[in-house]
Subunit: 321 residues, 2 copies
Amino acid sequence: MASLKLPEVVPSPTQDSERLRNAFQGIGTDEKELILVLGHRNAQQRKEIRETYHQIYKESLVDSLQSELSGDFRNAIVLWTCDSSERDAKLARDALKAKRKGIKQLQILVEIACATSPNHLMAVRQTYCALYDCSLEEDIIASVSPPLTKILVGLVSSYRHDKVTVNSEVAKSEAEKLHEAIKNKQLEDDHVVWILCTRNFFQLRETFTCYKQLYNNTFEEDIKVCGKGDLASLLNVVVWCIDRPEKHFAKVIRDSIVGFGTDEDSLNRGIVTRAEIDLLKVRFEYANMFKTNLDDDVIGDTSGDYKEFLLTLLGKGPKGD
Amino acid sequence: MASLKLPEVVPSPTQDSERLRNAFQGIGTDEKELILVLGHRNAQQRKEIRETYHQIYKESLVDSLQSELSGDFRNAIVLWTCDSSERDAKLARDALKAKRKGIKQLQILVEIACATSPNHLMAVRQTYCALYDCSLEEDIIASVSPPLTKILVGLVSSYRHDKVTVNSEVAKSEAEKLHEAIKNKQLEDDHVVWILCTRNFFQLRETFTCYKQLYNNTFEEDIKVCGKGDLASLLNVVVWCIDRPEKHFAKVIRDSIVGFGTDEDSLNRGIVTRAEIDLLKVRFEYANMFKTNLDDDVIGDTSGDYKEFLLTLLGKGPKGD
């Protein structure tokens, strides 16, 4: 359920590269043209454009965007245009190097580990090592304090299988283990970490359903009651990202908009990283959770090319060609 | 330092496939010819032969070997011919499904995690999921008992960066942490697991060197004194596989030979899986540790085509063409 709209006939990567190059040249940059092209190409097409652009002009497209643009529009379109494993490796690095590393920052690691595919997560780890000469896990251990370290290292190290296979007995027995950990206020117990970090997403959703059937409360409700501060908040993000990522990202976007000013980094992340995955579901969940319209909220909080670009990713901007 | 010997002019994959096919046909199989071809091709060449053979004869080369051969020779040449990530996924699965899962079985997981490259380990995890609809970590948790589970899950989940970068201060501080764990007899401490499962191999070797300088004993000597049974034995394998894998594999081969009868599975593993990595070093270390010659020991304990094939991988068999 992606919101991205592609033209009926997609131009060749060479044609697109030439249009982008022309948009950069002359007095001022033609931002509308950048949106018309890049805002209407999927990941594979953008990859081909990056490669072709580099071949023709001996320059990186992302570098061109960086140097020709500025502000929130630049950040959003760069995030959209660069390779998704590089994008997520950089987001993870920024989160770990932030001065303050609260849940707002650390949840980015959970999103990468629990709301993307296992192969994507592997690619992010490889890219992280290549970019920073240091593994993602090493950076987590060096910069995050217990008890969050263990669960975060486990999550980013996971490689879950992705077939739709569910074992109801395992779900029941692991729901019981999770409940046991809640009762003992042992949220960092090895079994909790293993269950959340090794089971496939379908199995875990069954386990959460089973938990609710057995104990009336949902697992995340019980986590909150268990009240373990940051660990409880982080585990809540884990459950949402696994169970219903659209709910998590609706909240990320909402939090970025409400209050004084806009948190553009979070807004970009919520919209740009989900545009090809589940942004339509996020929009639906947003309306459901907050009784307000996501498109209207974006229009109210952004302006100019930045607004146009985000609306394009939401499937509401100018028609691409 | 590999022992494999390639012919000066390597035939095309089509020529090799035809030779192999001919060797299978007629009355009886021409095992000598199989050794002459497959025993003198590197991993990339064997991959191309597998693909070409399949294209021409619509049959898997590994399946042909399985059905045309028997006994130890078959097992060894199949291990050698199949894709290395599939080979290791199968070795890991067999180890975890063995009735008795002592160090002898579990050390196979350590070898895959600590004595191969990070990218190879990732490929093994992917293949494991594809073959068994279950992740390697899930199988470890289901079939290995604490306190071994935690370290094994950590090791197989690692993705270490592979640049030669070493930080001496980190080495010193982590040698101290390892020593602290030894003193407290807390070998399954989170810090021990994190150090052994996330640091790159060069850094860890520096840490082990530092340990010896600071505390006179080596880390593995102190592990033994700490005496935690299976966990201590497993950690010993971890340290050897990281620090000097040739030492570990020399011991694997020696153990497979001494005593009554030969443990062909271990002998195959020691020779076949290291032939393209460090078998010359293993041979040197073998002489050093056991004051006897590896080639002679193989000759003494094996016979026929099986012996010829192992000697070929040791660089001592018939010259390939």
